[in-house]
């Protein structure tokens, strides 16, 4: 039995959980290829124009798996946290997939909705496992085992790793992680935008090449994020919105973080709200440079590169200016 997992949306977040769960159950797991031009083009072709790029690309990933597997796992992830949602499009994802793509194998589309509480998690696990085996005990044990690898992965992320670092050799990882004298940049964005090397146009690597240390909202702990968010009058009801805004509010106060980049996909309703608040707060409360990069399927890499380059210049320029007073006039020190 072959189960396909599309490498899109929250794949990076849960990659170890679902993959090992299905494997522990004895199924063969096929992951769609890394996002590439064909996957993007395929996804764009079958979705409505107005959908955001990550949702379109997810469709492309499903199409990549369509003829290779017996089942495709497309969970309906409505809420992964009490009183919080992901986004409306996530709520309707399996439905969008089923109406937009023809000749699909069976779709495993459990509803994951923890808006009230997580009590029925086990029921969901049984539902999913039921596609592979009737043995409930095996399902439960497989899931518990899978949770361990998920936890392990989460811990690694907290230490500053990126999903893409996991493929790399040990030395490279080390190099990527800690460098003395580097500037630290907070990269905000939905995980499926910032961790997908193709969609993000490799922004993490690009920043690292300029000698920047990159961190994201996922590298902060709850204790760093949540207190900031509790001060807002209206409770934030998007999980990633809370994380991004909370991380930004925290980072504004941290001296060692030199700048904030927000990577957003065009038409994202959540980003339209969060990015605006982040920008206003950053400008009001700190002197840190901030930039919003918006991308869709028409975004040219050259334009993004120019902005990244200028942003890095801006940071270096400021840091040097603090340390060096030129006799030639102010601007010379900038170069």
């Amino acid at each position: 039995m072959k189960i396909g997992i599309p490498r899109g949306l929250l794949y990076d977040h849960y990659q170890f959980l679902w993959k090992s769960f299905f494997e522990n159950l004895g199924a063969e797991v096929v992951i769609s290829q890394k996002t590439n031009k064909k996957i993007v083009d395929d996804g764009v072709a079958v979705t409505v124009d107005e959908a955001c790029l990550p949702v379109k690309v997810y469709h492309g990933h499903v199409m990549d798996l369509r003829d290779k597997v017996d089942f495709i796992f497309v969970p309906k992830i409505m809420s992964i946290h009490e009183k919080e949602y992901i986004c409306p499009k996530f709520c309707g994802l399996p439905e969008m997939i089923k109406t937009s793509i023809s000749n699909l194998p069976t779709i495993i589309d459990p509803t994951i909705d923890f808006i009230k509480n997580k009590k029925h998690l086990l029921e969901i696990v049984y539902e999913i496992g039921g596609y592979v085996t009737y043995d409930k005990r095996k399902i439960r044990l497989s899931f518990e085992e899978a949770l361990k690898s998920h936890q392990n992965y989460k811990n690694k992320m907290k230490q500053g790793f990126f999903p893409m670092d996991l493929d790399k050799k040990h030395e490279e990882k080390h190099e990527a992680k800690h460098k003395e004298d580097t500037q630290k940049i907070l990269l905000l964005g939905h995980p499926y935008n910032i961790y997908d090397e193709y969609l993000s146009m490799n922004i993490v690597e690009k920043l690292r090449k300029y000698g920047m240390t990159v961190i994201t909202q996922d590298h902060f702990s709850k204790d760093q994020i949540n207190p900031q968010m509790n001060e807002l009058q209206k409770k934030m009801f998007w999980t990633f919105g809370r994380k991004m805004l909370g991380a930004a509010l925290y980072a504004m106060e941290q001296e060692d973080i030199q700048g904030i980049i927000y990577l957003s996909s065009f038409g994202c309703g959540i980003d339209s709200v969060i990015a605006d608040i982040v920008e206003r707060r950053t400008r009001r409360n700190s002197k840190k440079p901030y930039i919003l990069l918006t991308m869709d399927e028409h975004t040219g890499e050259a334009g993004i590169d120019t902005r990244i380059e200028a942003f890095v210049d801006m940071i270096k320029w400021r840091v040097e200016n603090e340390n060096y007073v030129s006799t030639h006039g102010q601007y010379i020190s900038a170069r």
Partner: protein, 326 residues
């Protein structure tokens, strides 16, 4: 022999070359339409500059900027290849050391750059929407049958306000036609177009940005006095158009090249012979993975000097020749 520096700004609409001396004085400037042929344009530019400057001059450093900066940089052997935002900032500071805001409108893109205490503070760039760029005016001028050079002066003659609505070039155009049909006079419509462009620019790029004086207006469109007036009217502040406003990117990168050469002690400039070499660009679609990248190969006199366009680095990482990329 006098030491000089070259700045080359390769934009999609125009390519600008400037010559600057050791005292950072501008000796010569050159403007050529790029017309989709950056290589030939750069060659033409260098050839003309060589003809114009006297032989007592030695090029001590060169920098490239603009959307064609990588290609141009490889061609000429640039000491600095810099994005146009930084380049514009550096140049503006050179002329107005306490500048706080730079408004830049070019043919195909526009930028706003904020500086505080002589350092780059914030910026935004628009490459998608045409309504805030020079091409919008060009198109309307063409439609009205008026040379774009006269546009600004005509706008100044306007006495009544005609409001052209629409945030998008397409809608603004249809609204303009509508106003024409209603019989408004030409000067007022032209002035309305200038104000529409400025409003679009500010809506698009100025959102949430504190526009403080001194304000500098540069880029190709800065020569249009109608736009300058519209900026001053809408912002309610004085707007300075510096000398050499249309070649500021090139000046900025020349300043940066000078600094770079001061540090490194030598230039990578390949000499004016570049103008006589034959360049060729070939491309192929890589079929190694579904990305189907279009890989570009760049030849000088039949020798491959650079290769780019692939995402994975399979082609571009191969050392082709000792070409320094920034």
């Amino acid at each position: 022999m006098k030491k000089c520096y070259l700045g080359v700004d390769i934009g999609s609409v125009s390519t600008n070359v400037i010559v600057m001396d050791e005292d950072e004085k501008i000796i010569d400037t050159l403007y050529i339409r790029t017309q989709g042929k950056p290589i030939e344009t750069i060659q033409k530019g260098l050839y003309k500059i060589k003809e114009r400057i006297n032989n007592e001059i030695k090029i001590a450093g060169i920098g490239t900027t603009g959307s064609g900066r990588q290609l141009g940089g490889i061609m000429v052997g640039a000491d600095v290849i810099k994005n146009e935002i930084t380049a514009h900032g550096v140049a503006a500071l050179h002329f107005v050391p306490n500048v706080q805001t730079i408004l830049e409108i070019g043919g195909q893109d526009s930028k706003i750059i904020l500086l505080r205490n002589g350092i780059l503070y914030d910026f935004a760039m628009n490459t998608v929407c045409a309504a805030g760029t020079g091409s919008f005016l060009d198109r309307q001028a063409e439609r009205m049958g008026i040379p774009i050079e006269e546009f600004g002066d005509l706008a100044l003659k306007s006495e009544a306000t005609v409001r052209i609505a629409g945030r998008c070039a397409v809608f603004a155009e249809s609204d303009m036609i509508h106003k024409q049909q209603m019989g408004h006079n030409q000067e007022d419509i032209i002035n309305g177009l200038c104000e529409a462009l400025v409003r679009n620019y500010l809506n698009n790029l100025g959102k949430g940005k504190e526009i403080k004086s001194p304000i500098i207006f540069q880029g190709g469109v800065a020569a249009n006095v109608g736009i300058k007036k519209a900026f001053e009217k809408i912002l309610g502040q004085e707007v300075i158009v510096p000398p050499y406003a249309s070649v500021m990117g090139a000046i900025g990168v020349a300043l940066l090249a000078k600094e770079e050469v001061r540090k490194s002690g030598r230039t990578n400039f390949k000499g004016f012979e570049v103008a006589n070499s034959s360049y060729q660009v070939k491309s192929f679609e890589c079929d190694h993975c579904p990305n189907m990248c279009e890989v570009v190969e760049f030849f000088r006199d039949k020798n491959m000097v650079a290769r780019w366009g692939d995402k994975c680095g399979r082609w571009s990482n191969v050392e082709v020749k000792n070409t320094k990329l920034a």
